[in-house]
Symmetry: C2
Subunit: 408 residues, 2 copies
Amino acid sequence: MPNSGVSKVLVAQGGGPTAVINQSMVGVVLEARKFQQVERVYGALYGIRGIVDQTFVDLTQETTQNLEMVAETPSSALGSTRDKPDLKYCQAIFRALKAHGIGYFFYIGGNDSADTVRIVAAEARVAGYPLRSIHIPKTIDNDLVGNDHTPGFPSAARFVAQAFMGINLDNRALPGVYLGAVMGRHAGFLTAAATIGRKFADDGPHLVYLPERAFEIDRFLSSVKATADKYGRCVVALSEGICDNQHVPIANLLASTVEKDAHGNVYLGGGPLADHLAKLVKEKLGYKRVRADTLGYLQRSFVGCVSDVDQREAREVGEKAVQFALWGDRDGSITIHRTGDYFVEYRLTPLDEVAGKTKTMPDEFIDGAGWDVTDAFRGYLRPLLGKGMSDAGRLRHSAVPKIVDQGD
Amino acid sequence: MPNSGVSKVLVAQGGGPTAVINQSMVGVVLEARKFQQVERVYGALYGIRGIVDQTFVDLTQETTQNLEMVAETPSSALGSTRDKPDLKYCQAIFRALKAHGIGYFFYIGGNDSADTVRIVAAEARVAGYPLRSIHIPKTIDNDLVGNDHTPGFPSAARFVAQAFMGINLDNRALPGVYLGAVMGRHAGFLTAAATIGRKFADDGPHLVYLPERAFEIDRFLSSVKATADKYGRCVVALSEGICDNQHVPIANLLASTVEKDAHGNVYLGGGPLADHLAKLVKEKLGYKRVRADTLGYLQRSFVGCVSDVDQREAREVGEKAVQFALWGDRDGSITIHRTGDYFVEYRLTPLDEVAGKTKTMPDEFIDGAGWDVTDAFRGYLRPLLGKGMSDAGRLRHSAVPKIVDQGD
């Protein structure tokens, strides 16, 4: 065993923050502090950038009380990064890890972060440096392969579900057409969550557009019209990542300038997309009250809208990561598997099975016509949302007969 | 007393929905059902439009259980309207009220709705029709004169506060410039609420722009730069209603088309405003990561982010409205007055003191420089937000000394 002696643990957080990413970090810290062979638990500030820069903090000196408070706080407490390491970057990582005697590296993030862990682990093997590298899953997009779902998604889904419950009620009081753009580059899971609060047959969102199906402007407009004709209003949930039949994001088609991150991902602001489609609805269909919102960064960081199931599981993936690394002495990615209704177990999956890959909504979750989701999806999502989901009331409306003929 | 005989009660909801507007409606219904001289309690669907159209529902037939569930549900359960009545409209209202034997009219809404009640009450007097007309306050903008604050504002403020707590944490993890646009046409109360979650000296929002102070692009850009130089990041909360020194809304200056409602109010979408300012920051200051969100309709209808103080008071204004009308036999607007820390009492204020007028942030709530709020404001807001406000944790960061010189 390469790490049989006393060694240090390093934990870092990468990619977009979530509401529960600190649960995983605290899970690593508290579990690692139990092992006698762990001399210190370090955190790197701002992800792998902090490893290269050696901006380490000693988490062994944090109180348990404060760690628990941080665990309840959304967004990466250690800071994050979107850096993607090349060979030179990795060599700098090793110099830092080696110099500080790090034997266990835990990186909490999405599929890009998993790929970073894969590269670091491979380079460690080549360099003969004794290092266990574990990727801990996190993403609100829910797009990691090999996972039933990923920590961060359930809380973001709860936010989107509650947002659209309110939006539907608002739109019912002041009828019109409403477009709400939801995060999700390639996977529509989060947008699909907008449907979970529907209770009555006329509740919105009435139309749901996912990146998994080609978006056609004409069909969109005729669907909005058909819905407005039927209900006198229309609520649309659309993914920021919707594409045309050539797989070109609609947002890119409309954007005047394109911004890319270090991973080559185009930055998708939903704002222009939703605003542009709202303008189209107004112009082509002639509706007067057409409104558009982009749910934006609130989806991943809103304070006070968290799934307790998500909190628990995010803690567990951190804890399990340490157990796999310290007892199992293997590299890998922690994956979540549903084994009961509702229960999960955690496995250590080879990094190359998860890294850089993207899971999308399976066909059985998407309604045939492509603008709604199925009961199978709702059955999948409901247990993830946790306790205390709100329920919407409605008056029973005993109509009073009219008396006067107002004429006009 | 004109209404000493048996009579009917009519309640309606006007203007933009809030998270607690149904508390006031249910407060009216449950209290009115206690009075022997009340034969029936009707609700008008879609505000005064529903009076003209006689689309009444008999709320006397609603169960108490269902009313309580509706009370907990955001957005006007009876539907709303933005109609502003002219004389002809008012005459149609009277025909309907008279035909249905309505003796008590309760209208829940903002200053435009108060003005509607004022006109209806005046026309009733002229027509010699025995009608008690009461305006029940509601607005997330908190801009009704004669009130310490208005129902709906505390819950919306709680949403904005929790949103910016999360946004600040997100921005701290992935530093950059962030602009968040908050609702508020003339009054900056809701935007100012963005500051309430600040806990550490470097917490955002670092800059707060209110409609009460002229917005100058150059000063804005230099303030963003100064903040980014100091903290390496900058979070801005700005009101959709910010104006230049000629009182022209910045949003209007940027909008290609202008949409007005029946009250002549320009529809302010914050989206183009925030997006345009973000573009300016990127171009003029050269920052790479600049993001903009518009909090949009979520602010007034989000399910599951409600102040219990707001719920209680919204219920009370409905209950008091019935008591004033049935015992006091006067028209008026229910107003909220702070009489303790924290305690309120309710008064019946003449309609013309409230109707059509707009309260804005007093000078003592705005920091001298104009881009922050004062402790006086925070002391004013805190008790309104209710129980269970979230608190943000932070690691204490015991730095580990660097070992290797990475050179690059």
